[in-house]
Each structure stands twice: as structure tokens, then as C-alpha cells.
């Protein structure tokens, strides 16, 4: 069974999905990812779906789940690289992925995570004072 690699960039994790997802693979990915967030003390997770031409409700739900899990572990999730056709299909299906942040590409996703983490730290610092 193939495995989806998880790459570490600073305190972010990058997951690039390039194969068809199925139940088992999705479960394995959620397992691996939560493990890595804890062991690497990651603050952000980027899921790159630029290679996916078809995103169905199953993948949509998986993305939502991963975002929710990361949130519990205090990491921000950003889905990056969605194709226009995929975006239109998801909207037509009524899956707006409201629980997930999105960015155009990995670059912008990284900047977005940085911004969110900085903001959170800033707010924390204020509260401490």
C-alpha cells in the first residue's frame, strides 16, 4: 500500500496528495499526520491538492476532519493548490469546506500560516501583560 509522504518545512508540515484517496489511505494519513504534529510540534499543516483533478465528498470530508484534528492539536490547516474546475465542482456539490482555510499555492499557504501563528502569539503576549 502506498503511503502519502509528510514533509517538514520549519514548523509546518506539508502533505501533497497525488494519488487517488481511499478509506484505508485516508485513515493512515490521519494517523501519520496527527503523530507528526505532536512529535514535530508543528504549528501549521498544508495540504497540497494541486495534483487532484477530482475531489469528491469523501475527500472533502477528509480535509474537514484533518483540519478539525489539527485544530485540537493547536495547528492551523491550509488547503492549497485547488484547481478552478475542482472549486466549481465542490461548490456545485454544496461542499464549500467552510471549516478549512484555503490558499492559492504553497507559497501563499506558508505566508498565511506564518501570519496566523504570529497573530496568535501577538494576542497571547498581550493577554500575558
Amino acid at each position: 500500500m502506498s503511503e502519502i509522504p509528510i514533509l517538514k518545512i520549519g514548523d509546518c508540515l506539508l502533505v501533497s496528495i497525488q494519488v487517488d484517496m481511499h478509506d484505508r489511505l485516508a485513515m493512515a494519513l490521519q494517523d501519520d499526520l496527527t503523530q507528526r504534529i505532536v512529535s514535530d510540534r508543528a504549528r501549521g499543516v498544508m495540504i497540497d491538492i494541486s495534483a487532484l483533478e477530482i475531489v469528491d465528498s469523501f475527500i472533502g470530508r477528509m480535509l474537514n476532519n484533518i483540519a478539525a484534528m489539527s485544530r485540537v492539536l493547536d495547528a492551523v490547516t491550509v488547503v492549497v493548490g485547488m484547481r478552478p474546475a475542482v472549486a466549481i465542482t465542490l461548490v456545485e456539490l454544496g461542499l464549500a469546506l467552510t471549516g478549512v482555510r484555503t490558499a492559492l499555492n504553497v507559497d501563499k499557504g506558508l505566508a498565511m500560516i506564518r501570519g496566523i501563528i504570529d497573530n496568535a502569539e501577538h494576542a497571547d503576549a498581550h493577554r500575558d501583560r
Binding site: P84, V86, L90, A96, T102, M112
Partner: protein
């Protein structure tokens, strides 16, 4: 047999028929442009030519027969030209129907003695000309429909421009009603441009949208959601007071930042992308 005799008669009296026909056309007013008379006469000659050739086949009751094909072609060209020149259907139809009178006159003169033959032929010719006239109108309508379809397509393409207002800021001025077909095109255009330009903010301006009902709102929400999935935030602008009231009365929840004018939206977009526009006069004034 008698039907082929009709072909011979048309051939024999072509000159006279042509003269009478053109006179009838002038009286009934099928051509507005006096300068087009020469072309009209030429066309009429062609039609008479094909009439005798087609009638030679002996099938006056079936204009779909192969011997009528050249005639159909002539009429098709004629009605297409008329449609693009902006003639109305009556003017186009009268061109064909005005041929009846000269033909009947000719028949009466030639075979007026034989009442039975005259009645039969008159009926056959009436049916024939009706069929040809209807065919002309059909072609005319088809050409009109083609024109309308093409204009619709052009309108679709023209009316959905995506403008780059600033680095990373796109504007989408919507004009006209948003239906499903247009929403699809608007969405595709917007998303393509977001990928191309890497924009993070899209301003959707609905100043030109006459009414916002639940359907239009749903289309707007779809477009906004799709842009969000591509990582671009949307700002809605150009909401007229009337539309603001309608939105509230209908209980619509757009879940998007909205501004009254495009200028306000641009100001917000610039602030979000951390850009500042400075009034030079004022900036210099405070330095003094």
C-alpha cells in the same frame, strides 16, 4: 402532363411575368431601397428560371423533391440576405407571394377557355407558391435565430470581464441579470484569473445587477465560495439602497464583507494587502 405544360408556359412568358412581377413588388413594397432594384430584378429572373426548371419535373405539390433544390437554394440565399439587412418577415414573404398575381393572369390568358384545367392549375400553383413562401419565411426565421444566438454568446463573453485593479486585487463588475449559464462563465473567468495573477482579493461589484433575488444571491454565494476555495477573499460592492432592503426583506445571508461602493471596497482591499495610497498635497502639507 398538364403540370409540365405549366413549365413551358412560364418559360414562354418569362419576360412578361418578370415585368408584371416587379411591378407587383413595387406596389406591395417589398423593397425599401430603390437602388436595389437591379439586384432585385436579377434575383426575380433567377427565381422564374428555377420555377420553370423545377416545374419541368412535373411535381408542383412537392417542393422537397430534388428538382426544386436549386430553387430552395436561391430562396435561402435571398431570405438570409433579407434577414441580415433588417427586413421584416412580411416584406420577405411578399416577395414570393406577389408572384401569384402575374402567374394567374398568365394562366387565365393562356388556358382561360378550359375552365377545368384552369382551376386545377391555379390550385396547384397556389399550393406551390405557398410552399415556397413558407420555406422562405422559415429560412428567414432560422437566420434571425442564428443572429440572436450569436449575439447572446457575444453578450455572455463581453459582459463578464475580470479587471486587475491592483497587484493582487481583481475586480469583477457584473452587469445584467445573473442566471445559471452566466454564473458558470463568471466563475470560470474569475477562477482562471485568480490562478493567473495570484490575486488574494476579488471585488465583486453588483452596481449593474438590476435585481437581487434568492436565485441571484445563491449564484453570488457560489461564486464567492469557489473563489474562497482558491484562496481568494471576496468583497461585495455596489449594493444599491434598494437592493440592501431587498436582501434583508428576503432574509438572505450572504456571509461576505460588503461595501456600498467600489471605492470603499478598494480601500479595504488595499488595507488588507497592506498597501497605502497617500494624498501628496496633504502629505506635503503636514511636513511643512
Amino acid at each position: 402532363m398538364a403540370d409540365t405544360a405549366f413549365a413551358g408556359l412560364v418559360d414562354k412568358h418569362q419576360k412578361g411575368l418578370l415585368k408584371d412581377w416587379l411591378a407587383a413588388q413595387k406596389r406591395d413594397g417589398t423593397s425599401r431601397d430603390p437602388s436595389a432594384e437591379a439586384a432585385n430584378a436579377d434575383l426575380a429572373r433567377q427565381v422564374l428560371d428555377q420555377l420553370s426548371k423545377g416545374a419541368a419535373g412535373g411535381r408542383l405539390d412537392d417542393t422537397t423533391a430534388p428538382e426544386w433544390a436549386p430553387m430552395r437554394e436561391v430562396l435561402e440565399d435571398f431570405s438570409r440576405a433579407r434577414a441580415t439587412q433588417g427586413f421584416n418577415p412580411t416584406e420577405t414573404a411578399v416577395f414570393v407571394f406577389s408572384l401569384k398575381e402575374p402567374l394567374f393572369d398568365m394562366l387565365r390568358r393562356e388556358i382561360g377557355a378550359d375552365a377545368e384545367q384552369l382551376g386545377r392549375l391555379t390550385w396547384a400553383v397556389t399550393r406551390l407558391l405557398d410552399a415556397l413562401g413558407l420555406y422562405t419565411i422559415e429560412c428567414f426565421a432560422r437566420t434571425r435565430e442564428e443572429v440572436i444566438g450569436r449575439q447572446q454568446q457575444e453578450l455572455l463573453e463581453l459582459s463578464t470581464p475580470v479587471v486587475e485593479l491592483w497587484d493582487g486585487i481583481l475586480a469583477l463588475p457584473l452587469i445584467g441579470t445573473l442566471d445559471s449559464a452566466r454564473t458558470q462563465i463568471v466563475m470560470e473567468n474569475l477562477l482562471e484569473r485568480i490562478v493567473e495573477s495570484g490575486a488574494e482579493i476579488a471585488i465583486i461589484d453588483i452596481t449593474g445587477v438590476p435585481t437581487v433575488d434568492t436565485l441571484v444571491a445563491q449564484h453570488l454565494i457560489k461564486t464567492i465560495s469557489a473563489a474562497r476555495l482558491m484562496g481568494a477573499d471576496c468583497i461585495l460592492s455596489g449594493i444599491r439602497p434598494q437592493i440592501a432592503q431587498t436582501i434583508v426583506h428576503l432574509g438572505l445571508e450572504l456571509n461576505v464583507v460588503s461595501k456600498a461602493t467600489m471605492a470603499d471596497a478598494l480601500r479595504l482591499a488595499l488595507r488588507r494587502t497592506e498597501k497605502v495610497i497617500v494624498d501628496r498635497a496633504k502629505a506635503l502639507g503636514t511636513e511643512d
